[in-house]
């Protein structure tokens, strides 16, 4: 490498550690700057374009897709998937996986609903009843996450197995508590929270999801917690040797995922003013798919909130769009499977051809 250099003429050059493949700042020209901005965003730009194509194509095939009614249906599905996927993104960034998010969401909804049903029947104050239900759901989510995190870090069992176990435990527990039936008889004010349309297009679940997504994005990119999540997912041994308490961090990560599941459980309850033990089926896979379509790497160290949200939108647009277009519902599942694999393949190609983006 240094053979062609002349040390005597360029002492500064030759004593510095410098190789031809050194990454350079995007050039100072306008073109260079645009290039470096695109370099940072190209993945999400591609994802937004794919989302637009899906929306436009379905809109052409079935114009009613571009209506408010269809947006409201779409937002209901998207908010739940997106909330679970936000927690999932943190987990995946650390190199883990949480298969229990759907079951924990449904379990927390059922437990909280049972609490609310009891309080409502005994004539408690409506606001207190709803707040008690919400608090119960958040606690159920946090406890499930705490157990996941403790078993993963202290018993050293892989996240896949632990959260698969939690999926089963939470499903069983919720069926025991609800007797396997939908929990009804809840305060009707819940329906107002879940379905009241604000300003034509916004609903409470949509606002909650947007706010939490912004908070999650800030935490992931601007705080020590976020940076350490990437560091742990990238090289947990290095993080440990750098003095980071990896176990404590991972426990917090799984608790965060459980907390998002609890919040999703509450929004789910407000939608139908009931809690159904059947509601969670397949949600864990949708949340993982959203994160992965959004550019998260299951081997850890990569992932973004914006990508995950776009991923959730892509999947639910496809789902609702195909229903509205009158395609048999089984095709949706096939389409989601294909698009997940295709998205990961496309990301790999993009990274390969664009080189490692800074």
């Amino acid at each position: 490498m240094s053979a062609t250099r002349q040390p005597s003429l360029q002492p500064q050059e030759t004593t510095s550690i410098d190789t031809p493949d050194a990454p350079r700042e995007g050039g100072r020209s306008i073109l260079g700057r645009i290039g470096s901005i695109l370099g940072k965003w190209d993945g999400d730009v591609a994802r937004i374009l794919i989302l637009l194509v899906i929306v436009v194509v379905i809109g052409i095939v079935a114009p009613s897709f571009l209506s408010m009614a269809s947006w409201l249906a779409l937002s209901q599905t998207t908010t739940l998937v997106a909330l679970l996927a936000l927690g999932q993104t943190f987990v995946i960034v650390t190199g883990g996986i949480d298969l229990s998010v759907g079951a924990v969401m449904a379990c927390s909804a059922v437990v909280g609903a049972v609490v609310m049903r009891g309080m409502y029947a005994s004539g408690s104050d409506m606001t207190i009843t709803v707040l008690a239900g919400l608090a119960t759901m958040l606690v159920v989510g946090l406890v499930a996450g705490l157990v996941n995190g403790l078993v993963i870090t202290k018993l050293k069992i892989t996240p896949f197995i632990v959260t698969l176990g939690m999926l089963s435990v939470a499903t069983g527990a919720m069926n025991l508590i609800s007797g396997g039936a939908e929990v009804v008889g809840l305060p009707p004010v819940l329906g107002t929270i879940g379905n009241q349309v604000i300003g034509g297009w916004l609903t409470v679940p949509v606002i909650v999801t947007i706010v939490l997504a912004v908070v999650a994005a800030i935490v992931l990119t601007r705080t020590r917690f976020g940076l350490r999540s990437f560091a742990i997912g990238s090289n947990s041994g290095a993080a440990r040797r750098a003095g980071i308490n990896v176990d404590r961090h991972l426990i917090r990560i799984y608790m965060l995922s459980g907390l998002f599941a609890g919040i999703a459980g509450f929004l789910l309850t407000t939608r139908f003013v009931s809690a159904s033990p059947m509601a969670a089926q397949g949600m864990e896979l949708l949340s993982i798919a959203a994160a992965v379509i959004g550019g998260a790497s299951l081997s850890g160290g990569r992932g973004s909130v914006l990508g995950t949200i776009i991923g959730a939108l892509i999947m639910s647009s496809l789902q609702i769009g195909l229903i509205i277009a009158g395609v048999q519902s089984f095709w949706q599942t096939i389409a989601i499977g294909i698009i997940t694999v295709a998205a990961v393949f496309g990301d790999q190609l993009r990274i390969k051809f664009a080189g490692e983006r800074p």
């Binding site: 550690i17 705080t223 560091a231 041994g237 750098a242 800074p358």
Partner: protein, 256 residues
């Protein structure tokens, strides 16, 4: 602290057993301020185990370690780092998906001032600026410290790992094969870094297979053989052949 000849690290009778395997069979040596000491030995001689013990990754089975005049039990790597014992690991211990500046501050991220800091926000600008300055003073050139660490070449990664260990508040630097993946020119650069550390009176223990480099950089060479330090040589006097004789054990047999 100012005495340039004071003993910084003293290791006495340190042993380490892994089940029936005796990796260290009683290691004794001391390192003084500002010394660059080479540690050589064949594969399996116990060098890596000794590094693990000194960096806090593995507890010794028996023996005594004195650092800056105080008995220490290096219970874990962060404890060793708190004492000022910095290690450049053979695998570099870099998180490749995070920016270069973040690796330089890994485990010691600086928070923003005031309320934002309490909320866990990072002082990104401050850390980025300081990372740039550090790399400038060590004359390591890597383009932008904002780049993802995976964008660096093997040599650049090694340079970052070395820079992280030598840059801040280190009182003793342990280097496990710091130049194994480097080209000639970069090896030379790491050598300069090692010497600049020693000039600050911070001792360096350099584990290396590269005997010419050891002879060039080190004030003393410790040779490990079957879990013990069997020779303490002056590399300016002893030839490479003599050192190899000690490494293979033939010099030892000659003595007996």
């Amino acid at each position: 602290m100012s005495d340039p000849d004071r003993v910084v690290l003293k290791v006495e009778g340190v042993t380490k057993h892994y089940g029936h395997v005796q990796a260290l069979r009683g290691v004794d040596f001391e390192i003084r301020a500002g010394e660059v000491v080479g540690l050589v030995g064949d594969n399996g001689a116990g060098k890596s185990t000794l590094v693990s013990v000194l960096s806090g990754a593995a507890a010794p089975t028996a023996g005594r370690i004195t650092f800056e005049g105080e008995d220490v039990s290096l219970s874990d790597p962060s404890h060793a780092r708190d004492l000022g014992i910095e290690t450049v690991y053979q695998d570099l211990a870099l998180a490749l998906d995070i920016p270069i500046w973040a690796n330089l501050f890994l485990g010691r991220e600086r928070r923003a001032r005031g309320l934002w800091g309490l909320l866990g926000f990072l002082d990104r600008r401050g850390m980025i600026r300081e990372a740039e300055e550090e790399l400038k003073t060590t004359r390591i050139r890597i383009g932008s410290v904002r780049a993802r660490t995976s964008a660096l070449s093997g040599g650049q990664r090694q340079a970052i790992a070395v820079a992280r260990a030598v840059s801040r508040g280190s009182r003793f630097v342990l280097m496990d094969e710091p130049t194994a993946a480097l080209g000639v020119e970069q090896q030379h650069r790491v050598g300069e870094l090692v010497q600049s550390v020693a000039e600050r009176n911070v001792p360096v223990l350099l584990i290396s297979h590269n005997l010419p480099q050891v002879r060039e950089l080190c004030d003393r060479v410790l040779v490990m053989y079957r879990g013990r330090i069997v020779a303490d040589l002056d590399p300016k006097v002893e030839s490479v052949e003599t050192i190899i004789g000690w490494i293979t054990g033939s010099a030892l047999e000659g003595q007996l």
